[in-house]
């Protein structure tokens, strides 16, 4: 057990993180390299400053809960979306248990969340994930878009939370849940750059690019860089 644990939190964790960050960097590099001012018909270079302002504004407005028309028009989904992502981002980064491993491996760590906050965020993510799955099944306009792949991605994202929560709650079979949790988390990290989860990085690219498009070509000079998203 200890050997497996050491392996999972040692070399395998290192590899997972390497694949994750390397892969994401590669995706970002590939995205920017693939931009083409003539094909997209956006003069990025001559209006870089205005474009970047538009990009930042476009990203920021969509990160603010209910900050756009679209979020406000879908209040329940927006709620689930933000609840889901809040836990999905903050728990892995600031969980006390993760900080212990980080301290051991790297010699430093980030401030840890109080356990109760992590628990609530985790449950929030799991509940929101459930809502998102139910919504996929219930709404015809979402069902028609949904593929098995979407469920796979949702399961891949939720698995570390469910297993981690069971482990943290000292559920029967603690060791099993803990190892499974680490394995699921690492699987997530390894697969993310190669799947739709690449949106973790590419959201900022895509969102930013449309912000630039509107700021540079589609009216930024008249309405200002901030498109009324």
């Amino acid at each position: 057990m200890r050997d497996v644990y050491s392996l999972l939190t040692g070399p395998l964790l290192g590899i997972s993180l390497l694949v994750f960050f390397g892969g994401m960097a590669w995706r970002i590099f590939w995205y920017i390299k693939g931009l083409d001012w003539r094909l997209e018909r956006v003069a990025y270079r001559p209006y870089m400053k205005r474009g970047l302002k538009g990009a930042v504004q476009s990203i920021w407005r969509w990160l603010v809960p209910y900050g756009t028309h679209s979020w406000r028009q879908h209040p329940f989904f927006a709620g689930a979306f933000f609840l889901f992502h809040l836990g999905a981002i903050f728990v892995p980064l600031f969980l006390a248990g993760h900080m212990v491993i980080m301290e051991r491996q790297l010699g430093f760590s980030l401030p840890a969340l109080p356990q109760i906050v992590s628990d609530v965020l985790t449950l929030g993510t799991i509940a929101a994930g459930g809502f998102i799955i139910a919504r996929r099944l219930a709404l015809p306009e979402v069902r028609i878009l949904t593929t098995l792949y979407d469920y796979f991605i949702l399961c891949l994202s939720l698995a570390p939370f469910v297993t981690g929560f069971l482990a943290a709650a000292n559920a029967p079979g603690y060791d099993f849940w803990l190892l499974l949790h680490i394995l699921c988390g690492e699987l997530f990290l390894i697969l993310a750059p190669f799947t739709k989860l690449s949106h973790i990085a590419l959201f900022f690219m895509s969102r930013g690019q449309l912000g630039m498009d509107y700021a540079i070509k589609r009216g930024g000079e008249f309405r200002g860089t901030s498109f009324p998203w």
């Binding site: 069902r143 895509s206 309405r223 009324p228 998203w229």
Partner: protein
């Protein structure tokens, strides 16, 4: 059958071919031939590999399938929430499949894709503003149209439209001579009432060069006369080019990018030749999109700009009213409740919403906003070429309901539509649904309420 005589992969480049295609009423033979048209899958995949780069591929890949774009689409709204009208579904099941299958798609697939690209999307770009990832499906549909066009799967009218641009340098069969004749004719007709008015052709170094929509000289020549009157009233030294006067781009709707490049190059050449200080385009949305917003890129201009400042008619009109160069008689302001149609092409896609509202503040006593409006406004229902495609007339008439309901909710009896396609769509929705509205461009309204200075009036006895 690899290629039909009418329906094939070749663009129309001769007058003869154009007339032959036009003679096929409603495209009966054309669409018959299309059922047999082979797909050149190698060419298709080759084109995709060269032109479908990281932006589009990322859009297709990271779409979360969340369905938030559904309600933003007027086709979805007007179809009783038909899931097959969800923008993400429409693009994933067409362009998405082409990319996924590496171009190996068949004839039936391509015909369905055509029906989706032209009959289920007006490229209004509204859905793109509702997507958290910023996936602009209107942009992708426009790209898809280009792929379909290059394979010959394009609605009959669009093939003709693009051919018109290639043959006549205009979206209709209006030659340079026809155009100059129309200018002379309109100047003669108008001069009686407006002494001193002229329509100067090919004047170099003028203050303003004016560009039009070919429909104006062809079907509504009075629009050209009205433009002349307003320039005359404002005391502007203006001109029209004998070549390069056509600002529209049906080739943009067709996805014929080479014809787009040719068309906009004619206009830019005219600008370089005549060297005006400013270029003003007529009250048209897609002409502005095609020549001012997208056109510079087709022409290969790295700054994304036309060779001279190039503005929409509403920008010029707002300025003239603001500066008092055209003055409105307060007694003649519009009294009835009126509303304004925001054209997707120059409002959502070029940020000109404030200019039209400024104009309304000068001319209307009871102006009412549609809801939603400005950047968030719905397409009139006829954009992207949909107005002109017989095959999708039923679909078009159905999506007019969104605009109908928006107009009814304002209680307005007059709809001001400074855009040809919007104007058409609103006229057609009145014919289809009889809601008792009038519709108008800005030019005739402004002329009817402008104060005419004494020195511009006909001298006593002139008109006896």
């Amino acid at each position: 059958m690899p290629q039909g005589t009418l329906c094939n992969r070749q663009p129309i480049t001769t007058e003869e071919a154009l007339k032959t295609l036009l003679a096929d009423k409603g495209g009966a033979i054309y669409y018959q031939e299309m059922k047999e048209l082979d797909v050149d899958t190698d060419l298709l995949w080759d084109t995709v590999q060269k032109t479908c780069k990281s932006r589009t591929r990322t859009w297709l890949e990271i779409c979360a399938h969340c369905g938030m774009c559904a309600d933003s689409c007027l086709f979805y709204r007007c179809s009783g929430r038909d899931p097959e009208q969800v923008p993400a579904y429409k693009i994933q099941s067409t362009l998405g499949e082409i990319v996924k299958r590496k171009g190996r798609v068949d004839n039936a697939f391509m015909r369905r894709a055509m029906d989706y690209a032209w009959g289920r999307c007006t490229c209004c770009n509204r859905c793109g503003t509702f997507c958290p990832h910023g996936i602009d499906m209107g942009v992708m549909f426009s790209y898809l149209r280009g792929l379909l066009y290059s394979q010959g799967f394009v609605p009959w009218e669009m093939k003709i439209g693009a051919g018109m641009h290639r043959v006549y340098k205009a979206q209709m069969d209006v030659t340079s001579e026809d155009f100059v004749d129309t200018c002379e004719w309109m100047a003669e007709e108008t001069e009686e009432e407006w002494p001193g008015l002229c329509i100067p052709v090919d004047e170099e170094n003028a203050e303003v060069m004016y560009t039009l929509n070919a429909r104006e000289p062809k079907h509504y020549p009075e629009d050209l006369a009205q433009a002349a009157i307003l320039f005359h009233l404002a005391g502007v030294k203006w001109t029209v080019p004998s070549e390069g006067w056509e600002q529209t781009s049906l080739s943009m709707f067709a996805g014929d990018w080479e014809a787009c490049r040719q068309q906009v190059t004619h206009v830019f050449d005219a600008i370089e030749r005549l060297n005006p200080q400013l270029v003003i385009g007529t009250e048209c949305g897609h002409a502005h999109r095609g020549t001012v917003i997208e056109g510079p890129y087709w022409a290969g201009r790295p700054d994304g700009k036309a060779p001279r400042p190039y503005i929409h008619y509403v920008q010029w009109l707002a300025q003239m009213l603001r500066e008092g160069r055209i003055r409105i008689d307060p007694a003649k302001k519009i009294k009835e409740p009126c509303t304004l149609q925001d054209s997707c092409n120059y409002v959502r896609n070029h940020g000109l919403a404030n200019y039209t509202r400024e104009i309304m503040s000068y001319i209307a006593e009871d102006y009412r906003e549609m809801a939603p409006n400005r950047e968030n406004n719905y397409c009139c229902g006829g954009g992207g070429g949909l107005n002109g495609i017989g095959r999708y007339r039923k679909e078009r008439n159905k999506v007019l309901m969104t605009k109908r309901d928006q107009i009814l909710a304002t209680g307005a009896s007059l709809v001001i539509a400074p855009c040809h396609n919007c104007w058409d769509a609103i006229r057609d929705l009145e014919e289809e649904y009889h809601i008792g509205i009038k519709w108008s461009f800005l030019k005739p309204l402004i002329i009817s309420m402008a104060i005419v200075p004494d020195h511009l009036k006909p001298q006593d006895g002139d008109d006896e």
